[in-house]
Symmetry: C2
Subunit: 403 residues, 2 copies
Amino acid sequence: MKKKVLKFGGTSVGSIERIMHAAEIVKKEHSLGNQIIVVVSAMSGKTNELISLSDSISKKFNKRELDVLLSSGEQVTSSLMAGALTSAGVKSKSWMSWQIPIFTSGEHANARIENINVKNINAYLSEGGVAVIPGFQGVSKSGDINTIGRGGSDATAVAIAKIFNTDSCEIYTDVDGVYSTDPNKIPVAKKIDKISYEEMLELSSLGAKVMQSSAVQTAMIHDIPIQVRSTFTARQGTEISNQGNIDYTKIVTGVAYSKDDAKITLIGVLDKPGIAADIFEPLGKNQINIDMVIQTISPDGKTTDITFTIKRNDFKKTLDTLNSNKKIKFKNLNHNDKVSKISVVGAGMVTTPGVTFKMFRALADENINILAISTSEIKISVIINENDTLKAVKKLHTIFDLD
Amino acid sequence: MKKKVLKFGGTSVGSIERIMHAAEIVKKEHSLGNQIIVVVSAMSGKTNELISLSDSISKKFNKRELDVLLSSGEQVTSSLMAGALTSAGVKSKSWMSWQIPIFTSGEHANARIENINVKNINAYLSEGGVAVIPGFQGVSKSGDINTIGRGGSDATAVAIAKIFNTDSCEIYTDVDGVYSTDPNKIPVAKKIDKISYEEMLELSSLGAKVMQSSAVQTAMIHDIPIQVRSTFTARQGTEISNQGNIDYTKIVTGVAYSKDDAKITLIGVLDKPGIAADIFEPLGKNQINIDMVIQTISPDGKTTDITFTIKRNDFKKTLDTLNSNKKIKFKNLNHNDKVSKISVVGAGMVTTPGVTFKMFRALADENINILAISTSEIKISVIINENDTLKAVKKLHTIFDLD
């Protein structure tokens, strides 16, 4: 007998048929003698629908009330799932976060799970019941409803795995698992059987939407292995776990890419202490997210060139903010709003020299111009022209033996 | 300064525009210095939508989970209303039933409000805040979500008026008030300015859908005056209150009718103690609602004729149940599945003789055949052929001076 958390994402509970299908998966796991806690997201599209209702009232809709509003989405799915399980002959009950309670702290729309009362649910599990819990929410000590950010049902699942000390945490989603690159665009992409938390974090932040990053971080801190698998196929999924559990036969685990990027270079910025802060502080205040930042020294030694990337839809706002910034002086501003970022990620890189060189050589062989480079211990990212994106991903996927 | 409950029904909060309009009504009442508790229904159509989701899983969907599911409808409206008020500059907060709490007892889908904790909400009202509360629900002592039956938001409003001892209870709806008969069918129908609880109950049970009957009953028991008024016009509505407050210049207050009825007569039933129970018990077990029951003695004195009416869509089931009932014997079974019930209602009847005669004469003058009669202190109902419905209502409306 094992104690398990099974989490079903929005598309996995996106219709009555899918909820009933997910209930069958739960029923099967339960019939094997396991103790099961189910965590559900809102039906796909529901959260956006509720946000658009509040937006129609005001773009600055009260945050406390927005949390009350949004939390209803998972409430609906929880009751439907518990009802579907009951109808399928499985003893089951939904538990709203205030009924458990799941205690959260922090501000509305961005709270953290602090603690979960395990007593009543554990008693129910011992009686053979399946507990169904809405993801994405909790209650504050003062009794308000809080939500924990988009994709927060993953964080709920990991928190439950941690606090209930379950044997596994299984994330059911609409993909088979984590892939070496986007399988929709690169048909030779391969499903990864095992991946480390760190690699998963790099891939998530680079656009692989399999799991919410902060949930992966929590799992990493508490060493909770996660299984990502498809609700719709019986295929083995991807296990996300500690690096030590993984046998690295390949240097690179995956190739990720993000499009809709833009690159800006300030040439000949007068170099002085605090210049980076002077450039980036006004951008942050305007809600512009900076991705890569690269600084080089100009030949004259007194000025510096600063390159950074942003999302394309922030492009105009960024140029306006830079041009109206009285605190900074620069000779020239280069920009390119049609770039993409390609990253190779792999825990095996740390111990393998020459990956960087191999990557640059491969791109050169394809006549792909590298516009900027940024590296971390387990990742190398380059900015290239957007037109070259797929060509670059395919080439890197091949030369790092991922096909 | 007055303390008021304002309740908005489903059509009054049926869209974002309508919620914002209702919020303006609340804002105006609040700006006059009143303490306001708002009770909201689910957006119109929402409850049916949720029920159809549960029905798709199972027609016997778990009742506990159905309550969790349905209660989300009013949760959504409460948060949108509180958010709309905040956006309109009114201090406001939603309170889910477990946050107050509103304690209920009884079974799922059909619970009763037992008690409401007034402390925190009263403190909030004193600080000038508007409390927004979802109708139709509460929590049991064991912490489960309960709902209190269709139309239950009226019952919530009346319970709040009672327990918070408010100065008024105002039901905002999509009609101007209570009418002397259906204004959509009989254009001369008049809005009633004041009506007694008893008359309202008779009219409600006869199809006037202005307010839920059990809410009117509770208001009657605790002598809580209710104002019914339109969310969409500024017209004065109808006050429902104690008979003593009403000056009866008219004998009859209103003429109600229900269609889709069917009449069944068992002729020559062997009369013995318990025969009525033997007939009606199996019908009740089959979820068939019996409306009027009339029993007469046959000429031979040993048998009796029993006539009763039911809803037309129970007609076939009723015949089947009667024909397979081994406990009863009868000579013949008459039936007519195209009848309607016309009722004249008026507290003034009690002290005015001759109303019955006047009614029967008027129908005879129109060549309308009376198939069955049933009377109470403040009501006379007759069953007639459905084709005669509007002709009968118009005639009675005229002769009782309601035009």
